[in-house]
């Protein structure tokens, strides 16, 4: 019968007369005399929504923050690689496995480069991928729940920095190593680095349906430092480009010893060719040990599986798959324009900006014009692949993004500015200062065939005097520029969490309509879930006590529990029975050596409490849920070891 409701709505004639609420459009307050005002451009009126989402990495906070643009308002900090007591991430029993690695539980990482999934070269808003730099990992965040649902560890890698960029149909999310290391890891003298240490470039396949990640292959490259990367797109789809530094293969005082060569390389990898090789049985399976952690929305729990093998490919096995493009002065950012023709090498110690041509690269390869080789990998001639140079644009170029009008925007760390230049003519068009020492910049869709070139966000490492001081440690920040006109215009500074290392953005409409409101209680498959108060119970199994508890406005069931003893391991498995949008409940127990739980409607989470003292100990709801939130509380009676207090529980009546 409910299916009939839709056709019913179509019969508007009958209903219009009785339409009860009037959602008449608010008048447009932005027109008129104030239209040119900078403040107006970032003002999003109360109750209105931002035009873009920006997913800004937290850098050393290990998390991913969600901002709105142009307002610069922070909506959520999504816990990814670091424990978050606010959301019980890495504290509750369900999410602890997400932070498991081959080194055990690692509760922190350095989150660097978020990248949104793409379909046919256009950002599709399904997932965000982000790399953990320190203990190499790639995480996937589901943009229907804004939760981290998968983390895969990357073996044979160290300083997972040239990551986590996706190919134009999200075939792969790519993770390159910054440090070269012995592969496999072994005890050896550091001074034997040269020729012995290797750099792994890891291609992680992404299932087009559920996004499941799996390491397809690792390309074992010479022992350089692989700094950043980007996929080819359009005509260069099928290739991936990695900047390298330390082609000197130094292992100490790199600031000097890795800065000696006039040119390092951009490594161009034909991943389609290697994929074909691998699909035909190529490559070598070698022992490895890495964690694959998956969170399930129905069990509301994560599992961690240790994988024991990885497929490695030596570039020499696949002739014509890898080439080295000489690029001046320790290039940092490796950026590909929306057409896929130009590959920008941001030589961070160079005064100029080098741009390579994909077409010229193919020509040089076809004509076998090689300058030499490095460990068997052909090196092309700099002049043969050079498309052009942006002359003297600034000092310390780091990263470049693109708009939809054929312009490029490059950050300069040392001269602290964003410089706009024309792709093809290499002419500098505009420059705007950054406050201060800008690293990455982001244009929504900037790493795709279709950038939305309305704003650029510059992410600064240093703020000094830009905000009210907060002692020696002050905020890092982002700056928003309007790039819709000929000249860039600084609109807004806004503080960020941790280090705003890099960001990815897209129009809000791609995501917001798919954002989940609640978890369906009916679909909850958590082994200790309760679907109603009637199912709540307390079960003892030796020294372990499982409390299957429910929460709904404004009480817990049960809220009186007796028969727990000192030394027990008491698991609170708590299900939020609410099925209404934005009605989470929290729970915390006095003396529990863990965080609170913050449980969304329809979800079950678990914390462990090991009572150490006899007594009657309270627990309460930690999220202001309702008018009777303060009444949402309960007691657990803890009896001494060996006592015979019976295990009993109740709600609304006395335990006899």
């Amino acid at each position: 019968m409910k299916n009939i409701l839709k056709p019913l709505l179509a019969i508007g004639v009958f209903l219009l007369a009785f339409t009860s609420c009037d959602n008449s459009k608010k008048s447009d307050s932005r027109s008129g005399a104030l239209a040119g005002n900078v403040a107006e451009k970032v003002y999003v009126a109360p109750g209105e929504h931002d035009e873009f989402y920006a997913f800004v990495s937290g850098g050393f906070s290990g998390q991913l923050s969600v901002y709105g643009l142009p307002s610069g308002r922070l909506f959520k900090v999504i816990p990814v690689f670091s424990q978050d007591p606010e959301k019980a991430w890495g504290y509750n029993e369900e999410t602890k496995p997400m932070l498991n690695t081959s080194h055990g539980f690692v509760p922190w990482d350095d989150a660097h480069h978020p990248d949104i999934s793409q379909t046919q070269g256009v950002v599709d808003g399904r997932w965000v991928f982000i790399n953990g730099n320190n203990t190499p990992r790639i995480a996937k965040i589901d943009l229907t729940t804004f939760e981290t649902t998968e983390i895969i560890e990357v073996p044979n890698s160290a300083g997972n920095h040239s990551s986590s960029f996706v190919t134009e149909n999200t075939e792969y999310v790519v993770a390159g190593t910054r440090f070269s290391v012995p592969i496999p890891q072994r005890d050896m003298p550091i001074k034997e680095y040269k020729g012995n240490f290797k750099g792994a470039l890891t291609f992680i396949s992404v299932d087009p349906q559920d996004g499941n990640m799996d390491i397809k292959f690792q390309l074992i490259m010479p022992g350089f430092d692989y700094d950043l990367s980007h996929p080819g797109r359009g005509k260069s789809h099928g290739w991936f480009f990695f900047t390298t530094y330390n082609s000197e293969e130094a292992n100490t005082l790199l600031e000097v010893n890795a800065s000696q060569n006039d040119k390092d390389f951009i490594a161009a990898v034909n991943w389609k060719k290697i994929e074909e090789y691998v699909n035909n049985g190529g490559g070598t399976k070698v022992p490895a040990n890495y964690a694959h952690n998956v969170y399930d929305d129905e069990t509301h729990s994560a599992t961690s599986t240790m994988k024991k093998e990885v497929l490695v490919v030596n570039p020499a096995e696949v002739p014509g798959a890898v080439y080295l493009l000489p690029t001046p002065k320790s290039p940092h950012g490796c950026d590909v324009d929306p057409t896929g023709e130009y590959i920008v090498g941001n030589g961070k110690l160079s005064a100029n900006l080098t741009v390579h041509s994909f077409t010229k690269m193919l020509d040089a390869i076809e004509n076998q014009k090689f300058a030499g080789d490095a460990y068997g990998i052909p090196i092309l001639n700099f002049e043969d692949v050079l498309a052009g140079t942006v002359e003297q644009p600034g000092l310390g170029p780091l990263h470049t993004e693109f708009d939809d009008k054929g312009n490029a925007y490059t950050t300069f760390f040392i001269s602290s500015e964003v410089v706009k230049w024309k792709v093809g003519t290499w002419e500098v068009l505009d420059r705007q200062p950054c406050y201060y020492s800008v690293g990455h910049l982001m244009i929504p869709g900037g790493n795709s065939q279709k950038p939305w070139g309305k704003y650029v966000v510059a992410m600064n490492k240093i703020t000094k005097d830009r905000y009210l001081p907060t002692g020696p440690e002050v905020t890092q920040s982002a700056q928003l520029y309007d790039i819709s006109g000929d000249k860039m215009e600084l609109l807004l500074d806004f503080p960020t969490i941790g280090e705003p290392h890099y960001a990815a953005g897209c129009p809000a409409d791609l995501i917001k309509s798919r954002s989940k409101k609640i978890y369906n209680l009916e679909d909850n498959k958590h082994p200790f879930a309760v679907k109603s108060e009637a199912e709540t119970k307390v079960v003892r199994d030796g020294n372990t006590v499982h409390i299957s508890m429910s929460m709904i406005r404004s009480h817990f069931s049960p809220d009186n529990i007796e028969g727990v003893k000192v030394g027990d391991k008491v698991y609170f498995h708590v299900t939020n029975l609410e099925q209404d949008y934005d009605v989470p409940h929290g729970i915390s127990m006095i003396g529990a050596n863990t965080s609170e739980l913050l449980i969304m409607p329809g979800q079950t989470e678990t914390f462990l409490w090991e009572p150490k003292q006899e007594g009657v100990w309270p627990f309460y709801c930690t999220d202001f849920c309702s008018a009777l939130h303060q009444e949402m509380q309960g007691y657990v009676r803890v009896s001494p070891v060996g006592s015979n207090t019976e295990l009993k529980w109740s709600l609304g009546e006395e335990i006899e």
Binding site: M1, L5, L8, I11, F14, S20, C21, Q579, D580, Y581
Partner: protein, 199 residues
């Protein structure tokens, strides 16, 4: 078949629309509910306007001691039976009867519909006034009597932080049209009869 009987046939069938479309809708608006809570009343069911609305209405109402909206009420059996019986009766009249019977059916339906509305009112009144003595929040009217939370039978009413709307839906219009059309059948039949008589 006479034209008036055909019209009566249509009149007798129209109330069956109640089996397809909701009879009534109650909507509750509050600042915290940008998408209002709502409940459709069918002749044999209560249903959510949006998923889980009835559960959430119950959750709100328990604070003031209101009962849960029941899964089923006796009316869910009586009303459908009433509609089926009167429709069959209407069909019999359409095939066998004359305009006087049309008027009879018209009056019968008016009486039964009014009785149904009155029953609905009684249920609403009970729902809004029979409150748990241990209600979490107790409100009194300015004159000291216990505040009730009865939604309006028809129209819009402010109840604490909620604005309640109660309006008939498509099913009710089918019923109303059936009743109206039976009266048209009566008028038409009488005209035809008088014409015949005049000759």
């Amino acid at each position: 078949m006479k034209k008036s009987n055909i019209i009566m046939l249509v009149a007798a069938l129209l109330p069956l629309g109640l089996f397809l479309f909701p009879l009534w809708k109650i909507t509750l608006e509050a600042p915290q509910y940008p998408i209002p809570l709502g409940m459709y009343i069918y002749i044999n069911d209560f249903s959510d306007a949006n998923p889980h609305d009835i559960k959430n209405i119950n959750l709100m109402n328990h604070y003031v001691g209101m009962k849960y909206i029941p899964e089923a009420i006796p009316e869910f059996k009586i009303f459908p039976a009433g509609i089926i019986i009167t429709s069959i009766l209407g069909l019999l009249i359409a095939f066998k009867g004359n305009y006087k019977w049309f008027l009879f059916w018209f009056i019968l339906m008016l009486v039964l519909s009014t009785a149904g509305l009155y029953d609905f009112y009684l249920w609403e009144h009970d729902y809004g006034h029979t409150l748990d003595p241990k209600a979490i929040m107790k409100f009194t009217n300015p004159d000291g009597t216990q505040m009730g939370f009865q939604p309006p039978l028809f129209g819009t009413k402010h109840i604490l932080n909620f604005t309640a709307h109660s309006y008939p839906r498509l099913g009710a219009y089918f019923l109303a049209m059936g009743i109206a059309v039976s009266f048209i059948a009566f008028l038409f039949g009488r005209k035809q009869y008088k014409k015949l008589f005049a000759k």
